[in-house]
């Protein structure tokens, strides 16, 4: 990897699940040891970029916003060019950066990053969105490099069983990591920062191949003979 190439980490997930807040947490915890930059993909404003700048966790110059033309999905997947250029310019202007975090605009469960844009990606859900969301699956939930079940401190107020939600997520992910996160729970924050650290190390060492979570999640349906069939490949019924 060239000296100026950073570890590019995508953060996707539905609206309001805490993507900006997670990025602010990562910056707050790791800014002392890693050189960081952030690209936000806002839908209608530069609100996310402003929130992060005002959080005071990173030099505001290192946080840049990219417009998505109301197509957050397109911006991180079908046409990543504007984002790629933003990442490369940030890497050039603040060389050398260790990690550039790319925040997706809030979208639906099928929005995932193209491996042409990021080296690894985090998909963020929250307990307030409903305990059954992890079970519903989707490419981000099933195959992102890390799944976050966020805002666990709210679970008692929204009637969600965090343990069950995490178990559902682990089941959908075939062993890939899931972290139950609350920014008020230092132990869970430590798990997140350790994951970022080790992934940054793996990417820099060339030990990590970007994955494409892809458009289709593993899903099952009942075959003609009544047998339950589970698919992981893309197909039409």
């Amino acid at each position: 990897m060239p000296e100026t190439r950073s570890f590019r980490l995508g953060v996707a997930g539905p609206v309001g699940t805490g993507k900006s807040s997670l990025i602010a947490t990562v910056c707050r915890e790791l800014a002392g040891e890693l050189r960081l930059g952030v690209i936000t993909n806002d839908i209608y404003t530069d609100e996310d970029a402003r929130l992060l700048r005002s959080a005071g966790v990173l030099d505001p110059e290192r946080i840049r916003a990219v417009e998505t033309g109301a197509c957050p999905h397109t911006a991180i997947r079908d046409d990543v060019t504007p984002n790629l250029i933003a990442v490369e310019d940030l890497e050039r202007d603040f060389a050398p950066l260790d990690v550039v975090l790319v925040e997706s605009g809030g979208d639906n469960l099928t929005a995932t990053f193209s491996p042409a844009l990021v080296d690894a990606q985090i998909f963020v859900l929250d307990v307030a969105g409903g305990g059954d969301v992890a079970r519903k699956g989707g490419p981000g939930i099933a195959r992102a490099d890390l799944l976050i079940v966020n805002k666990t401190d709210l679970a008692p107020y929204v009637g969600v069983d965090v343990e069950q939600m995490v178990k559902d997520a682990e089941h959908a992910r075939d062993g890939k990591p899931v972290i139950a996160l609350s920014r008020t729970d230092p132990a869970s924050v430590a798990l997140l920062t350790e994951w970022v650290r080790s992934m940054a190390h793996a990417v820099r060492a060339g030990d990590h191949t970007p994955v494409d979570p892809g458009p289709m999640a593993p899903h099952s349906h009942v075959g003609e003979d009544g047998e339950l069939i589970t698919h992981t490949h893309a197909h039409t019924h």
Partner: protein, 249 residues
């Protein structure tokens, strides 16, 4: 090199990954300034697209035609270009010499595009197109650096030259793309029926062909028209500092 007709279709396709989804052709700030009257005068959208075809887009199309003309001439005078080789074609002019021949046409475009905001947008979009073009049509590297903020019509003119597009095809691509950018963006900015939008676009075909007929024959830089639309520039400046926006420009 490929079928020119198909290359023109690719360049005109909004799904080509060159950041087209971030652009509204200035429609977003125009709508904010009152165009469409909150949905009560939707025909304004087609009129706005037509105004562009008669002013700023004419300039862009002429610049692309001139770029194609210059690059095509230098292509013929040099030897066969090696795809992807940005260094020195053995018996032909060096990249720097070839690029230098395009300097005056970029300067002519800049002189006719008085708003630094509008120039900035075109150069950003040119950079996105260049980024894709050097992968898909590596011969562009004989004329253009691998990365750089270069006016979009100049980049498109070079793509046209190395893929064998005619001057008409180059001009038509610029004109159609601009009209389609405005019309498509209207679907996200105003209460527009998509079938109406397509009807507006079809209604602009004659205007597009008049533009093509006017600018395709140009072969001298001083023939590039200098039409302008000052209000579009004013809107662009407002948009550049606007916080609530869907589109980059």
């Amino acid at each position: 090199m490929g079928n020119a007709e198909l290359v023109a279709m690719m360049l005109a396709d909004g799904r080509l990954p060159t950041g087209g989804h971030t652009q509204s052709g200035g429609l977003e700030p125009a709508v904010r300034a009152g165009l469409g009257a909150d949905g009560k005068q939707l025909a304004d959208v087609a009129a706005y697209a037509r105004d562009r075809l008669r002013t700023t887009t004419r300039v862009e199309a002429a610049v692309a035609v001139l770029t194609r003309h210059i690059a095509t001439s230098s292509h013929l005078s040099g030897t066969k270009l090696s795809p992807g080789d940005e260094n020195v074609p053995k018996n032909g002019p060096r990249l720097s010499e070839r690029a230098a021949t395009l300097g005056p046409v970029e300067a002519a475009w800049a002189a006719r595009t008085p708003s630094h905001v509008v120039r900035g947008v075109s150069r950003r979009q040119g950079r996105l197109l260049l980024r894709l073009a050097r992968r898909v049509w590596p011969d562009v590297s004989a004329y253009l650096p691998n990365d750089g903020e270069i006016a979009r019509p100049v980049v498109l003119g070079v793509v046209g030259a190395v893929t064998g597009l005619s001057a008409e095809q180059v001009a038509r691509t610029i004109a159609y793309d601009d009209a389609q950018t405005v019309i498509s963006a209207s679907l996200k900015l105003l209460p527009v029926d998509p079938a109406d939008a397509a009807t507006w676009l079809a209604g602009l075909h004659d205007d597009i062909e008049w533009l093509v007929k006017d600018v395709a024959p140009l072969t001298r830089i001083d023939e590039i028209p200098a039409d302008g639309a000052p209000l579009i520039d004013v809107f662009a400046h407002n948009h550049a500092i606007e916080r609530m926006r869907l589109f980059h420009a």
